[in-house]
Symmetry: C2
Subunit: 342 residues, 2 copies
């Protein structure tokens, strides 16, 4: 351990004393306040450097009742879509030196209920949650929380506070329309039944609704199990779908990962995609661009969600903010047609 670590903590008053000014001057020098003589500031900063001073944000936070961090609650980080959102959010926030306090629920509302109070104790300036499914207690807690709540990645009927999301229900309709336009009529859906993945459920519901509206059968639904589901489940799911409904001519998958699993399984079984079977994914993951054939999918704007959320946070934290009502940003997903569908 270096000697520096043994020394008692250096604080503002130490620098003040060493330079021969008051603590306030040191404070001002540090935050780049106007009204500090350049020479004084220089002296302060150099002495701080010399003494190995580290500004104590905790103390400042207590005094100012502002912490400069945002709590972010995610169901999983091992989902490239969510990571993209977190990356965009993190990048934008870090530009203004706002830090992220991260919590991972692993798709578990109980865990979320346990984690959120821990986060709130730290006085985050806002709390961002991927997903809109929460326990009753969590909901109540967030409702009366003294910080802005931002739910993202979905458009809840009853939002707790602000929303930055898209309609998973509507987004799937882009895919259904595309498949039907190209002549497919016997469509199936892989996944979307998991109780812990409401976004997937919305997608499946959108699928069913779209078919119903077209007076097409919507019974070719194959469950894949509890979220997260991925490529492995997609491959197994394809087999199940075809054994139950051999005449299927098009499949929409709850995600590109599942879609890739299905495409890969088709390759193994010698099923021609898209000729015999059209397959579409969801989410525009890298795998869908690279696999063979490349997957038709929906780009949900994962980064855009993060970006917009950051902007919303800045807005909410802006000094002059008058706390208007809750805001709602509706992101519009894009259909991306690739070779896996005709």
């Amino acid at each position: 351990m270096s000697p520096a670590k043994r020394h008692a903590k250096v604080k503002m008053t130490d620098i003040a004393q060493a330079v021969g000014v008051s603590a306030m001057t040191v404070s001002r020098a540090f935050k780049g306040d106007t009204g500090v003589k350049p020479a004084t500031r220089a002296a302060v900063l150099s002495k701080a450097e010399e003494l190995g001073y580290v500004f104590d944000a905790t103390a400042a936070n207590l005094r100012q009742s502002r912490t400069g961090f945002v709590a972010v609650v995610v169901p999983s980080l091992e989902n490239a879509n969510f990571s993209a959102t977190v990356r965009a959010l993190s990048k934008a926030l870090s530009q203004k030196n706002i830090q992220i306090l991260l919590a991972n629920t692993e798709y578990d509302v109980e865990e979320e209920e346990r984690l959120i109070p821990q986060l709130l104790r730290r006085n985050p300036e806002a709390i961002v949650l991927i997903g809109t499914q929460h326990s009753k207690r969590t909901r109540a807690l967030l409702k009366k929380a003294p910080v802005p709540v931002i739910e993202i990645w979905d458009l809840p009927r009853e939002a707790i506070g602000h929303v930055v999301g898209f309609s998973n229900f509507d987004a799937v309709q882009l895919l259904v329309a595309h498949l039907v336009k190209s002549g497919r009529r016997r469509l199936g859906f892989l996944g979307g039944e998991a109780g812990n993945d409401p976004r997937g459920q919305q997608r499946r519901a959108g699928f069913v609704a779209a078919l119903a509206q077209l007076a097409l059968p919507a019974h070719r639904l194959v469950p894949l199990g509890t979220a997260p589901v991925g490529m492995t489940e997609g491959a197994a799911g394809l087999d199940r779908l075809l054994s139950q409904f051999p005449d299927t001519d098009g499949i929409i998958c709850v995600s590109d990962l599942v879609g890739f699993g299905a495409v890969a399984q088709c390759a193994r079984r010698g099923i021609a995609v898209p000729e015999t079977l059209a397959i579409a994914g969801f989410g525009n993951y890298e795998i869908g661009r690279v696999c063979e054939p490349a997957l038709t999918t929906v780009d949900v704007g994962a980064e855009q969600i993060g970006q917009r959320t950051a902007e919303l946070v800045f807005d909410l934290l802006a000094p002059g903010n008058t706390r208007q009502g809750p805001r709602r940003f509706d992101i519009h997903p894009d259909l991306i047609v690739r070779r896996s569908t005709p």
Copy 2:
């Protein structure tokens, strides 16, 4: 905005007053101290609930000089390997109510240099960094930082503090040995030249060293560009490798993602894997298990790294800790043989 939000903040003294005890008793009741009459505690807790009290961790932190969070610095979250580590770490830490302060450098040491001081100001109890490549200033800063520094995912020659990692250099030798044993002699390597990915560089260096030791040629090296590189680069890289070195009979890729790109490209070009060309990846990503043929790879124990790091943190924070010297955990990666190699 609910009425609760307009009220001034409820603090311990408010509860104390309402219950008719002192703030100290409230404090004790909250932390489950022995030496509070059960009836008193019950009264305190119920009044707290009633008033919507939220414990202020900032104030407690200032007083106790302990914050209960750990800073985690990652090059990227969109890498399933890193996310797995963060997940395991996060899960273990959250069990003891330690929060994660997340920073994402995007493989940029300059950005890291900018972010770390921001993190240190918040008095994290430890700082965990994926990677061991840092700027000179960052290194100096961390060296004299008053918190334990844990570098993970590599085994640096000169560690700043503690280490939980594996030798990327050695790990590749498992793959080389496997390919050579199965008769391949004209091996190539995809990726690993990127200056911002020292782990990749180590892998490539290990590849070159292993071949040199076997007196085999080690010139079939194809750069893929700046990290992060993925499937797309893998596909392009395969083409480049084969046009430069058409006689190549085995390829090791800097990651499974690149490996998948290469395998997919082989499928498109009608190159038989593994008969004509053996392909191995690195990192044991899900894609490598599911693709066709499944990829031979190295499992580096991403979760284990996170888990071990959490244990190390607990150790370092244990009250009786005597601050012994830096610890070093050497994780041993495993070879996983699949169908992409003979």
